[in-house]
């Protein structure tokens, strides 16, 4: 009886999801062109799809560098299996610019205006964590911004300038929901 039940649960052969508005369909398997079951979303974004704006620092869920948006919510792409992203909508740092005009997201522009980065390696993750916050809370208090970014690691200490950059656009109504 048990065996009969299990028979109905085959490993999936394909996975499809949206990345920055574009549908991605990938074969699952162990060939070089395929996605392996053990591949993380971070790996697939960077190595298979060439979206290297997503950075991997700890590859262990502790630093926030690989943060992307899944259906608008901040998640860690290094702790997410690609095969479990079926039907989801992923936004990476490459997807924040207006696809028609190429205009930067106001949050990106504000990071530039406030020099809210030093080495820049953690910056994509920071921007996406802030973006997720503004999606849900368009006019956050500074404490809410700190909380939303509390899982993002930065060793240069860009924190203070990042807070200014996020607060400068918070509540401006300029930031579109992604």
């Amino acid at each position: 009886m048990v065996a009969a039940k299990v028979k109905s649960v085959f490993p999936a052969k394909r996975v499809s999801f949206h990345v920055n508005g574009t549908c991605v369909e990938l074969d699952i398997g162990s060939q070089p062109h395929q996605v392996e079951t053990s591949h993380t979303l971070a790996h697939t974004l960077r190595e298979t799809l060439g979206l290297t704006g997503t950075k991997v620092t700890c590859d262990n869920g502790a630093c926030g560098s690989c943060t992307v948006l899944m259906d608008g919510t901040a998640i860690l792409s290094c702790m997410t299996l690609t095969v479990e992203c079926h039907g989801r909508s992923i936004t990476t740092i490459e997807g924040l610019q207006d696809p028609d005009t190429g205009r930067l997201d106001p949050l990106q522009q504000s990071f530039i205006d406030h020099t809210a980065f030093q080495c820049g390696f953690c910056t994509p993750g920071m921007i996406l964590s802030a973006k997720a916050l503004l999606n849900e809370t368009p006019s956050p208090a500074e404490e809410e911004v700190k909380e939303a970014l509390s899982g993002n690691f930065c060793r240069c200490i860009s924190h203070y300038q990042v807070l200014r950059a996020v607060m400068a656009v918070a509540g401006s109504g300029e930031v579109k929901h992604v």
Binding site: V2, K5, S38, T40, G61, A74, M79, L81, S150, G151
Partner: protein, 364 residues
């Protein structure tokens, strides 16, 4: 990560059957935030053959009161528990514990059952494979516990046996406070396990073909003061060094009901029964709260480097009972009150003082 077979379970039965089929060599995956750390670091003797995704099981994400029980689906995300109006109003300690876990990104995917079933954080147990190989230990069944003579600053001060790793789950502390039970589903039957009995020094009560379906909490109807204090070196990210949850109901200034649960001091979350009994019928004030703190840790027997946890736990018990915030017990009045978090003062300065411009170097 090394390859594995991946299965999306559509039902609990499918998930449990898959566990049975792989006979202990499959692992369930919900949020994945602990599991993938384990797989990436390859510190366990065996690597699973299969990962069974249970996020594809529908209907396990809920918070509802029903027949005297608050029922929370196993796959309810910590972020949803932290912001649930129902929980915030009447099960505040649980909402606080969920909010205290890790980081926003983790809470967005981590589930309640996953938080309860996560593996311990012992630095020897988790030492990664890729830096010279994993460290053998009692919990893995292949060696002695090195923490006993080594760095045990984060280990259990009570209840350890062979293994002294402390329970890392924050939500277990609130659930123990509430006398909550897990509903576990196996291939043939369901059973209930009290959260306070769930953990053993070497693991937990769950069989490797069982899956947690629901967490059940006896409904709290009487108004009670609840608090959860988590002591860490930093606010987010960190696992507790010590945590305490307390629930106090008073009538005419006298304690009618007191419950205290301790986290990160033992292999499981622990109820401080003696301290609870002591408080019932007494007024809770600085003195009785401090006494309760001492009683709560009376059974503690620290290792070489973790006695400091006892002092912290005693303090947290007293503060939780008194309803004090862990961070700011008293505000120290001070002249400086920053209006800006950071400032940059560019100061003008007297003109060049005319030092010599020649390089003035000589050996002496």
């Amino acid at each position: 990560m090394r390859p594995f077979t991946h299965i999306n379970a559509r039902t609990i039965r499918q998930a449990v059957s898959a566990l049975a089929k792989f006979d202990g060599n499959a692992r369930l995956n919900a949020g994945g935030t602990d599991l993938f750390g384990i797989l990436k670091d390859e510190f366990l003797p065996a690597y699973p053959e299969a990962i069974v995704n249970i996020k594809t099981v529908t209907g396990l994400d809920y918070i509802r009161e029903d027949k005297g029980l608050l029922r929370i689906g196993a796959l309810t995300r910590l972020a949803d528990i932290a912001k649930s109006p129902l929980l915030r109003e009447r099960y505040g300690a649980l909402a606080e514990t969920a909010h205290a876990v890790a980081s926003p990104q983790i809470r967005n995917v981590a589930t309640l059952a996953g938080n309860l079933c996560q593996d311990v954080r012992c630095c020897y147990y988790r030492y990664p494979h890729h830096i010279g190989g994993p460290i053998a230990c009692a919990r893995k069944g292949n060696g002695p516990c090195l923490a006993v003579k080594g760095d045990n600053r984060n280990h259990a001060v009570m209840g350890g046996r062979r293994c002294f790793a402390a329970c890392p789950s924050d939500t277990a502390v609130a659930l123990t406070l509430y006398d909550a039970q897990l509903l576990a589903v196996g291939p043939t039957a369901e059973r209930r396990i009290a959260v306070r009995d769930f953990y053993t020094p070497l693991g937990n009560q769950l069989n490797n073909d069982e899956m947690v379906k629901e967490i059940q909490i006896p409904v709290i109807t009487e108004p009670a003061q609840q608090s959860f204090l988590k002591f860490t070196l930093r606010k987010p990210i960190d696992f507790a060094i010590v945590s305490v949850a307390a629930l106090v109901a008073t009538k005419d200034g006298i304690c009618a009901e007191a419950r205290i649960a301790l986290g990160a001091v033992a292999p499981g979350a622990v109820r401080a029964v003696t301290a609870e009994e002591f408080l019932r019928g007494r007024a809770i004030n600085d003195e009785t709260a401090a006494q309760a703190g001492v009683l709560a840790l009376a059974d503690a027997r620290p290792l070489s480097r973790n006695a400091y946890k006892i002092q912290i736990a005693q303090t947290l018990v007293a503060r939780a009972l008194l309803g004090q915030d862990s961070a700011t017990v008293v505000n120290v009045s001070h002249a400086y009150d920053p209006t800006e978090l950071s400032t940059f003062h560019r100061c003008s300065s007297p003109a060049s003082q005319g030092y010599a411009t020649v390089v003035d170097s000589e050996h002496r």
